[in-house]
Amino acid sequence: MSIPFGYVPAEQQMRDKADYARKGIARGRSSVVLQYDNGILLVAHNASRALHKISEIYDRIGFAAVGRYNEFEALRLAGIRYADINGYSYDRADVTGRGLANFYAQQLGMIFTDSIKPFEVEIVVAEVGNTPEEDQIYRLTFDGSVQDEHGAIAMGGQADAVAARLKDHYREGMTLEEALQAALAALTEPGNEPPPTSQLEVAILDRTRPLQRKFLRLTGRRLERLIEAGRKAAEPSGEGGEAATGGPEAQATPPATPPATPPTAPPTAPEGEIDTGSGE
C-alpha cells in the first residue's frame, strides 16, 4: 500500500503543533502567579483594561492565562460553567482546583490531538487553601499536560528570563507588598522601567477575606499604594542595588532570540515526557 499523498507522520505532526503553540505563546507578554503569606497573587502585564488575563472562577479558585485571547477566554468561560454547575448540583465546597485543572487538561489534550491548530495558551489554576500548605497551583500547557506547582510561576513571552528574575526575588512567606515587588521585578526587563501601573492586571485570592469569594481585583489607588509601600519597604534594606546587579545578566538575555528550545522546557512536549501530572 502506498503512503497517501500529503502524509505526515504523527510524531512530526505533534512536534509541529507543539512548536507552533510555543511560538504563539512566546509572542505575548508574561504573567506571574505567586504565593504570599495570606494567599495567592496573580499579576499580568496587560495593556488592556477591559480584556482580562486574570479572572475569578469560583470562591477560592482563580485563573491566569497567557497566549491567544479568544482561546483562553473560551477556557475561562468553560471553567466558570464547570465550576458553577458543580457548585449548584453538589455544594460550593465540592468545587476544587484539582477538578478544574483536570477538566482543562482533558479539553486541552483533546484539542491538541484532534484539531488542526492547537490552542496557543498556557494557564494557571490557583486555589487558595486555609493555610499556605493547602494552596494548590496547577499549571497547564497547550497540550493538556498538568503540573502541580508551588511557590512562584512565570509564563508567557520570555518566560525563562521572567522565571529567573522571579526566582531571584521570591521567597516563601512574603507579605503581599513584598510579593508584588517580586512580581514587578520579574516582569521588568533589565535596564527598562517596570510596566506602568495602568498596564498591570493584579488580583489576589486572599484566604483572610471574610467573604466566601476570596478573589479580589486590585486596581487604581489601592494598587498604587501597595506598590509604593513595597518599594519603600525594599529601599532601606539596601536592595536598591538590585537594578545594578540585574544589569549584567540583562545584557545576556534581552536581544537573544525567542526561546525556541527553552532549557527548562514546558512540562511536556512531544520530544519530552508525555504528561507526568507530577502528582507522584
Binding site: 479572572s55 473560551a74 466558570i80 460553567r81 458553577d84 454547575i85 448540583s89 477538566f103
Partner: protein
C-alpha cells in the same frame, strides 16, 4: 469536546443549564398529576421596607404542611449577591432551589461579564425564572419571591414583588408577601416612616411580622424559649448584612416588652 466549551455565548447560567442539564432546573421536573399543595412545606411571611440609603428584608421562621408546623427554624431570606437578596413564600422546596439557582445566575453573569447586573436586570431575570415555574404553580407548587436590592446608581433601596406569572412589580416604600402579608401590610402601612434610620426600619419590619404571626396561623412569631428569631437582612451602600441573632434578639425583647403593655402594638397617630 465538552458542551461547556462549545457555544459559550450566553452569560445566563439558567440558559446554559436548560441545554446542558435541564433536569436540574426546578421547573423541568414534570408536573404532578394532582395538586399536592398541602403535603409539602410552605414558607409564609416576608416583609421589606426601604430606609434612607437602603432596604430591610425580614422573614419569619415557620414552615407548614397543611395544618402541621413542619419546621420552626426554616430560613426564607437568602443573600443573592453583594447588594441583593430574595425572600420566598409558597412551596418551600422550590423556593429554596429557585433562590439557589438565582444566586448562581447572578454570580455567573458577574464572573463572565466582569460587571454586575443592574437592579432592573436582576429583577427581570428573576421574573423569567418564576414564569418558568407557572405550570407547577397551577398544580399547587407555587413560589412567589420578593426581591430587594440596593441600587448603587440611585443610592437607594428597591423592592420588587412578583405574582406566580412573573412580574416584576416595583413597590414603593414597603411590601409583604405570603399568607400573613395582609396583616403585615396593615402594620407596615401604619408604622412605616419615609427616610427613617435603618434601625427604626428593622423595628417596623419586626412589628409587622409580629402582627402577621398574631393573626395568621401559618406565620411563626419570635420563639424566645427556643431562641428562634426572624431573619433580618439590611442592604445599603456597604452591601448585604444579616443581623446576628443577638442583635435581633435585642430588638425582639424590646418589642415584646412593648406588647406586654399594649398587645396590639404601637399606635399610629389618629390625626
Amino acid at each position: 469536546m465538552s458542551p461547556m466549551m462549545l457555544d459559550t455565548g450566553s452569560p445566563s447560567f439558567t440558559e446554559f443549564l436548560s441545554s446542558y442539564a435541564p433536569h436540574l432546573l426546578p421547573w423541568r421536573r414534570g408536573v404532578p398529576a394532582e395538586p399536592v399543595g398541602d403535603q409539602i412545606p410552605h414558607a409564609t411571611t416576608i416583609v421589606a421596607a426601604t430606609f434612607a440609603g437602603g432596604v430591610v428584608m425580614a422573614g419569619d421562621r415557620r414552615a407548614t404542611s397543611g395544618n402541621m408546623i413542619s419546621q420552626r427554624d426554616i430560613e426564607k431570606v437568602f443573600r443573592t449577591d453583594e447588594y441583593s437578596c430574595v425572600g420566598i413564600a409558597g412551596t418551600a422546596s422550590i423556593g429554596i432551589e429557585l433562590a439557589r439557582l438565582y444566586c448562581v445566575e447572578l454570580e455567573h453573569y458577574e464572573k463572565r461579564e466582569g460587571r454586575v447586573l443592574s437592579a432592573e436586570g436582576k429583577a427581570n431575570r428573576l421574573a423569567t425564572m418564576i414564569r418558568g415555574n407557572l405550570p407547577m404553580a397551577m398544580q399547587g407548587l407555587a413560589v412567589v419571591p420578593m426581591f430587594v436590592a440596593y441600587d448603587p446608581d440611585r443610592g437607594e433601596g428597591r423592592i420588587f414583588s412578583y405574582d406566580v406569572g412573573g412580574g416584576p412589580y416595583e413597590q414603593k416604600n414597603y411590601a409583604a408577601i405570603g399568607s400573613g402579608s395582609i396583616f403585615a401590610r396593615g402594620a407596615l402601612k401604619k408604622l412605616y416612616r419615609e427616610n427613617a434610620s435603618a434601625e427604626d426600619t428593622v423595628l417596623v419590619c419586626l412589628q409587622a411580622l409580629y402582627d402577621a404571626a398574631d393573626d395568621d396561623a401559618a406565620t411563626g412569631g419570635p420563639d424566645v424559649y427556643r431562641q428562634i428569631y426572624p431573619v433580618v437582612a439590611v442592604i445599603d451602600e456597604e452591601g448585604f448584612r444579616r443581623l446576628s441573632d443577638e442583635e435581633v434578639e435585642a430588638h425582639v425583647r424590646s418589642l415584646l416588652e412593648g406588647r406586654s403593655q399594649s398587645p396590639d402594638g404601637p399606635h399610629a397617630p389618629l390625626r
